[in-house]
Amino acid sequence: MSELDIAGQPPLSLEISQYIRKTRGGKIKTATKSRSDHAIKITIFVLLTLTIYGFATFNYKNVDIAKALAGTWSNIKVLFGQPKLTYGTWGGSLKALFVTFSLGALATIFGAIIAFFGSLLCAKNIANSFVANITKSFVAFIRAVPTILWVLIFTVAAGLGSVAAVIGLTFHSAGYLIKAYAESIEEMDEGTIEALKASGASFWQIVFQAILPSSISRMTAWTFLRFEINFTNALAVGAAAGVGGIGFDLYMAGNHYFDLRELGFITYIVVAAVILLEMIATKIKATVR
């Protein structure tokens, strides 16, 4: 191809100097100005300005920062250096950890089911653009409300307990997974869907014979990633909304018993669980790709 193109054109000039841009002083320009560089500079400038403005206007309530930092440092040493259970038990902590896992798992399963059907309405290559836009705006709204607020809103309607927590976590999981699944579906080969359509397959036949088999591996990886996030969210929700699980134990140890050693012990359990989940996720990602 390229040979043909060159053959039709006048011979290339080898005078390289005409391609080099120079500054007025005669120096060779090494940096090129582009729209992207400009946008980056403006973005960084705005972010730095906002940061400085923020630090200037925050209400610090006359806290002695040096003293507080020194106190925090000694607290960190106690927290990680001398973990000890006083109020709870090993069995109780592990059970609470399992409850947090379960909250995360329930939210992930519900989220994945909703997201599977939602993503069919969203993916550009199978949905019509009007429905897709409505679904996307709805999802953007759902994701914009922080998880903890969904949990608290549902707490009023469903009472304080696992139902409110799971529904609150599910809202975000569904929103996140719809976006991820739709991208997985959009990445698949256009020809497969077209071939099935041409052979007269129905919509659901296309979904289950072409879309699901070809994007299931990517979807699994996304789902597990979301499970990791849901675990940390379940932890946070347990602490802030008091729905139970090991997050609530963390809150009680820190804000009720004021026991750093207890807090340290529970933190170790949580961190071990998070690292285990991350290792499993990495393994799943490796087998999927």
Binding site: T43, L48, F101, I153
Partner: protein
């Protein structure tokens, strides 16, 4: 399915693709169902009650969760708290990004540091990433009290850990070729960083920073509830007073802020990437 199997002659010992696929799907379905049942039992989750509560919550929201005149009169105060939370999120992310960038450099291949230094960098990053931000918040409450800095440092540690790992991966991916070229011309590590690594990975880094700002606004709402600062505290206050119409205005203002930031950062991303 049956027709294709009849037509295509195949060796007896080989099971059809469709049969294995069906078997895998059945197994996966049973596995998920098992996890579901165990989790539901462990958390006392009522499946029917859960489904019933959704329409109940929608009805309740339509009736009580609408801002009234009293709520609108509180709008200036709500907006001041919202801007405080937004500024904290930006400040945290910018500070964490600057620290994480320089901290991640020894962890990348571009600076040619000893492998054990790179490993230490990764371990420290993993530590900060894996300790949840609520643990930091609870810990910092001991010395800082209910202060804006409590949330600031809690988010800072978590963001720092997250961004350090991301920057190590991004820098290794994006600037490998130009770094090699610069070393070949005899540039020093410092020259390579400033003339190779920073320019080539800056778009990716800015994109990650924008993403973390979005995430941190949501997280800071929750941290604010624990540390009694910002918009999270305000929501908690109205919520506990059962002043749901004011609480709804807080939610609406958060939604508008988050969506605005999302749209803006998507626009910026489109231009810079």
């Amino acid at each position: 399915m049956d027709q294709t199997q009849e037509k295509a002659p195949r060796p007896q010992d080989q099971t059809s693709v469709f049969v294995t696929r069906k078997r895998t799907f059945t197994l996966a379905f049973l596995g998920v169902a098992l996890i579901f049942v165990i989790s539901a039992v462990a958390t006392d989750y009522e499946v029917i009650g859960g489904l019933e509560s959704i329409p109940k919550a929608v009805v309740w929201m339509a009736r009580h969760f609408i801002p009234d005149a009293k709520a609108w009169s509180r709008l200036p105060y709500i907006l001041s708290k919202l801007s405080e939370t937004a500024l904290v999120s930006v400040a945290v992310t910018v500070c964490a990004a600057i620290c994480a960038f320089f901290f991640s450099l020894p962890g990348t291949k571009t600076t040619k540091t000893a492998p054990w230094i790179a490993r230490i960098v990764r371990i420290i990053a993993a530590f900060f990433r894996n300790v949840p931000d609520i643990v930091w918040a609870i810990l910092l409450l001991f010395s800082f009290g209910e202060n804006i800095l409590t949330g600031f440092f809690a988010l800072f540690f978590a963001t720092f850990g997250m961004l350090t790992r991301t920057f190590i991966e991004t820098i290794d991916e994006v600037s490998a070729s130009c770094v090699e070229a610069l070393y070949a011309t005899g540039a020093t590590s410092l020259q390579t960083v400033f003339n190779g690594v920073i320019p080539s990975s800056l778009p990716e880094i800015v994109s990650w920073v924008l993403y973390m700002i979005e995430t941190n606004i949501r997280s800071s709402t929750l941290i604010g509830m624990l540390t009694a600062t910002g918009i999270g505290y305000l929501f908690d206050l109205y919520y506990k007073r059962m002043d749901y119409s004011s609480a709804s205005l807080v939610v609406i203002s958060i939604v508008i802020l988050v969506i605005a930031i999302e749209i803006l950062s998507n626009k910026i991303r489109k231009v810079i990437m």
